[in-house]
């Protein structure tokens, strides 16, 4: 059986999937991918179910080597330089590593997490239906801890299917949308300061929580509330007034007031904001948040329709409009995609 050997890897890299659900009432947090869309995209590229376990790669570089046979993988998520034995690899695409070949990844640029999916998934023993690493609880398979150089994952023999890329919506830089509450009434005027200010993610953030740097958010009645339940995206404010956004390895309950909650559709986009980059929050209504959740679920469901042959570099008209590159030159084009004849010159670096 072929193996994918981790030749080099930075911190904050681990096996993750759709998460471990059903035991939050016992204090067991779901864990799972920080960016579910990127995880799903990587999996769909190699024909896996969207939330199959894959390697979540943190902001630093990494290298993976095929041993005892070829291994087919796909990479999605934060942009980064990638090459196989010196050949540049396109982002959001599948690829085959011949026996002995190494896929080398650079630092994440403009994002934090990438996902490397293996065709056929990762072999392991699920607990509560998941292989996701939750280091604090000693859970995760095949390694119940972040990945280290020298680790090896069993891989299925490549199907020989054609390599593909996936045409994802163009990334947006809009404010991160939140629903206020559940304890915004603990903050009074400070909710306005929260929404009107520019924030940065602290470098001390991790899979449990992203610490925010910005103005001090003061409580009306002190910072101790009686513990209640948390969700992914809960924005709790401890005594020092510096908000923490709770991420998939969060505690299932917490005793700090929660001023707002990041909407589901923006979880992945928020998780990808690099430390130090300024961003803002924007409050939306429940109807809008749930509408966006439905749209996001629709996007996840239709990912297979977005697969494209890798040798025909495809541009998405919508993406061009979003990027403000297309203008009127393409407005008459009825097709949703362009087939570009010379892919090499257009492949991003």
């Amino acid at each position: 059986m072929s193996r994918l050997v981790i030749s080099a890897i930075g911190p904050a890299s681990s096996v993750q999937d759709g998460g471990r659900h059903g035991a939050q009432r016992y204090g067991l947090t779901p864990s799972g991918a920080m960016d579910r869309l990127a995880l799903a995209a990587a999996n769909v590229l190699v024909g896996n179910a969207p939330f199959t376990a894959a390697i979540e790669i943190g902001p630093f570089g990494a290298a993976f080597t095929a041993r005892d046979g070829a291994v087919r993988v796909a990479l999605a998520g934060a942009p980064r330089n990638a090459d196989i034995a010196g050949r540049a690899v396109s982002p959001d695409s599948s690829m085959a590593l011949a026996d002995g070949e190494t896929l080398t990844l650079g630092f994440a640029r403009g994002g934090s997490f990438s996902y490397l999916a293996l065709e056929g998934g990762i072999a392991g023993e699920p607990v509560f239906g998941s292989l996701a690493v939750n280091a604090r609880a000693g859970l995760g398979s095949p390694y119940p801890r972040p990945l280290q150089a020298g680790d090896a994952l069993q891989a299925a023999a490549p199907s020989g299917g054609p390599e593909r890329r996936i045409d994802l919506p163009a990334p947006v830089d809009d404010p991160i949308r939140v629903l206020m509450g559940p304890q915004d009434d603990e903050f009074g005027e400070a909710t306005k300061l929260f929404l009107d200010s520019e924030w940065k993610i602290s470098a001390t953030s991790d899979r449990m929580g992203y610490r925010l740097e910005g103005p001090v958010i003061s409580h009306l009645h002190g910072h101790n509330i009686v513990s209640d339940g948390t969700v992914n995206g809960s924005i709790q404010v401890p005594g020092n007034g510096a908000p923490i956004v709770l991420m998939p390895d969060r505690g299932t309950s917490g005793g700090y007031p929660k001023i707002a909650t990041v909407i589901t559709a923006d979880h992945g986009r928020f998780a990808q904001i690099p430390a130090g980059k300024p961003f803002r929050f924007m409050a939306v209504s429940m109807a809008e948040a749930q509408g966006e959740a439905r749209k996001f679920a629709g996007l996840l469901r239709t990912l297979p329709d977005r697969l494209r042959p890798i040798d025909n570099f495809v541009l998405n008209i919508e993406a061009l409009h979003d990027a403000n590159l297309a203008g009127s030159a393409v407005s008459a084009v009825d097709s949703t995609t362009w087939q570009m004849p010379s892919p090499d010159t257009l492949t991003p670096d």
């Binding site: 035991a23 016992y26 204090g27 859970l139 009686v226 209640d228 917490g254 589901t264 429940m286 749930q290």
Partner: protein, 243 residues
């Protein structure tokens, strides 16, 4: 006809969960209503509800917004939550062995000093309590107990510890705790138990359920060590009482 109870507050926790809040304080009556609503939703499931997380004062209800929206779910839960609290089904009673003080409970002496009494008296007060599992949370198996004697209520530590041992038995504020995994804590550490409230590959994986009753009894160092080995091998060690 029984009068309906005051409605809980329906607080959105994002687009896929509702915090059903019965009280803002630690309040035994509120916790009873939380646990009652949790039981009701277990017996009469609402389509789209995916997980229920009881806490002292609120029930966090996770749901799939593609199946049910906030307003519909709030209305359904609100109606159920105003029904009179049915008497709890027979609660399970656990006896949990604890080795107090020394290296196992490094705050016992300080707690005694702060409360102007002896370590033995603190142990007597703690072991004399009749507790109920109000909730589990934070990390797997961390059980928050109500029923701590008022004379043991004290603020949490100014400086939380980053690492406290597995099986720590502690008090913080008005709560008592049974901690399973090593981890950070701002509570006062009175002792340790060999009981694993969470253990993989053991049936049951999670020992305590919200609503279970708990009492403690003292064991010595040697017994703790023996129980710890037995527990590591998968024994439950805690005693389940006939009730």
């Amino acid at each position: 006809m029984a009068a309906t109870l005051p409605p809980p507050r329906m607080l959105p926790s994002g687009d896929s969960a509702i915090t059903v809040e019965f009280s803002r304080n630690i309040d035994d009556a509120a916790n009873q209503r939380v646990l009652a609503l949790d039981r009701t939703l277990a017996n009469e499931p609402i389509g789209g509800v995916t997980e229920r997380v009881p806490t002292y004062r609120s029930l966090l209800v996770h749901y799939d917004p593609l199946t049910i929206d906030f307003d519909t779910l709030s209305a359904k839960i609100g109606a159920l939550a105003q029904q009179p609290v049915p008497p709890a089904t027979k609660a399970r009673r656990w006896r949990i062995p604890v080795v107090y003080g020394g290296e196992h409970g490094i705050d016992l002496e300080d707690v005694a000093k702060t409360l102007d009494t002896t370590p033995g008296d603190i142990v007597a007060r703690h072991v004399g309590g009749d507790y109920r599992v109000a909730m589990l949370g934070f990390t797997p198996g961390w059980s928050y107990l109500s029923g701590l004697q008022e004379s043991l209520h004290m603020p949490r530590r100014q400086n939380p510890r980053l690492l406290t041992p597995a099986g720590t038995i502690s008090v913080g504020g008005v709560q008592a705790g049974v901690q399973c995994l090593p981890g950070p804590s701002g509570w006062h550490l009175l002792g340790r138990t060999a009981v694993r409230t969470y253990q993989l590959r053991r049936d049951p994986t999670f020992l305590l359920e919200p609503g279970d009753r708990v009492t403690f009894f003292t064991v010595d160092d040697k017994t703790f060590a023996e129980q710890d080995r037995a527990a590591e091998a998968g024994e439950i060690v805690a005693e389940l009482m006939d009730s």
